[in-house]
Amino acid sequence: MAVRIRFLVTAAAVGLAAWFLLQHTARWIHSSPTAEGAALAAPSLPDDEKLAERELRKVKDQLDALRYSRPYIVVDTNASLLYLRSEDSIMLKTPCSTGSGGKLVDEATGRRWAFNTPSGVFRVESKLVDPWWRKPDWAFIEDSLGVPADPSQRLDPEMLGQYALGFGDGCYIHGTVYERLLGVSVTHGCIRVGSDDLERLYEKVGIGTRIYIF
């Protein structure tokens, strides 16, 4: 009997300790900021309301200055959509194809390629009409073909469609002969758009237009 009583009292004490520990943990979780969050903490404002409002206006102006007033291109690689938009409106929304994420290894030379569309902020660097595709080595290796020595055998006048917008390190927004695959991420890194929407895009953007890819 005494053993049982002592056991019950011990169990109750352990339960009480666990409860206090849980409460303490909850208090810690709700109060302690993460390191990254702490870096974003705002400094204290002056007590005077007018001075405080002045400080608020200053930071608001700084934030507004980061906004981009002209139309820009956005590529959503998650949903395979391309937009031409501004802060307040969307002028064009169209399905596109982006990088498949596939990998290729040339067994003969050990060279490797990863077919991803880069993410980040870029600018339109070139605008091309009736672009020809100069096939890189991987286009032949992927089909188990030999890489041609004659440069003219690399050229394909049809593959890129009627227009191309160049950005980044050799990336393009261009047309495609595979319009039925728009919306599926099948490319080797470039961004494919349907011919009609590509023409509208080409007409509306200029060199320097920003491209946001995420």
């Binding site: 005494a2 206090f20 709700h30």
Partner: protein, 251 residues
């Protein structure tokens, strides 16, 4: 009297208890009591941590302070260069911004009554959190629908020289995003979805149940399937979420 060994000593079948067992139980009981008392004392001494009451008297100063913290946090996030989410509870939308520029936006609908949502998020809206930012710590997909038929992908994958599973996209029917130690956003769409792995779903539900007393806020929202696809796929660890409730147009 039969005796058998135990970790603490011999236990007899009689009503008496060996001295070793008696001492062991007593020590354990006292240790637990001391632990409980010391933890509760430590907890009281810690206070409420980083929650800061806005300075200055009056509602005006408080409003300015809350707004200042939000704008300051967003300015720092924009300068940081990476993407960040903005959950605007007033305008009922989630934005994705990159260097301060809006790149994606989706309207949300509250699955719970407005008052409950605002009550859950009150610490952020009243300026009790500085900054009003949480970082993504995890996500879980409960139910989904394949975007493309497998038969189509089998053909496309051959042409594109990739695996079919790399091309497939899963439109979420139900998923959750966990931010920091305190915020869970539960997202639903009207996609006719099938449940994912029952074991993983059960584990996620169990984890939420265990952490429910600790989690600060949980809100349920609905959105269009296309938006949910983007939000779920773009949600990477440490993605910042800024929480605000604007009522006016910015700028």
């Amino acid at each position: 009297m039969r005796r058998s060994e135990s970790a603490l000593g011999y236990i007899s079948s009689s009503s008496g208890v060996s001295r070793k067992v008696d001492i062991g139980l007593t020590v354990t009981m006292l240790a637990c009591l001391m632990l409980a008392v010391s933890i509760s004392i430590a907890g009281c001494a810690e206070g409420t941590g980083s929650t800061v009451s806005p300075k200055g008297a009056g509602e005006g100063c408080r409003r300015v302070d809350v707004e200042f913290r939000r704008v300051w946090a967003e300015l720092e996030l924009a300068k940081g260069g990476g993407p960040y989410l903005v959950l605007d509870l007033g305008r009922r939308k989630i934005d994705l911004r990159l260097k301060g520029v809006l790149v994606w936006s989706c309207p949300v609908r509250y699955e719970d009554p407005d008052s409950e949502v605002l009550l859950e998020m009150e610490p952020y809206l009243r300026g009790e959190r500085n900054p009003p930012v949480e970082l993504l710590t995890g996500k879980h997909l409960y139910a989904y629908r394949e975007q493309f038929p497998d038969s189509v992908l089998a053909v496309v994958a051959r042409v594109a020289h990739v695996k079919p599973e790399q091309l497939q996209r899963y439109e979420p029917g139900h998923f959750e995003l966990r931010f920091g130690r305190r915020l869970v956003i539960d997202v639903h769409t009207d996609v006719e979805a099938r449940s994912g792995s029952w074991l993983r779903n059960a584990f996620a539900a169990m984890r939420n149940a265990v952490l429910a007393p600790i989690t600060g806020a949980e809100i349920k929202i609905g959105m269009e399937p296309e938006d949910a696809l983007t939000l779920y796929r773009m949600a990477h660890p440490h993605l910042p979420l800024l929480i605000c409730a604007t009522a006016e147009e910015r700028g």
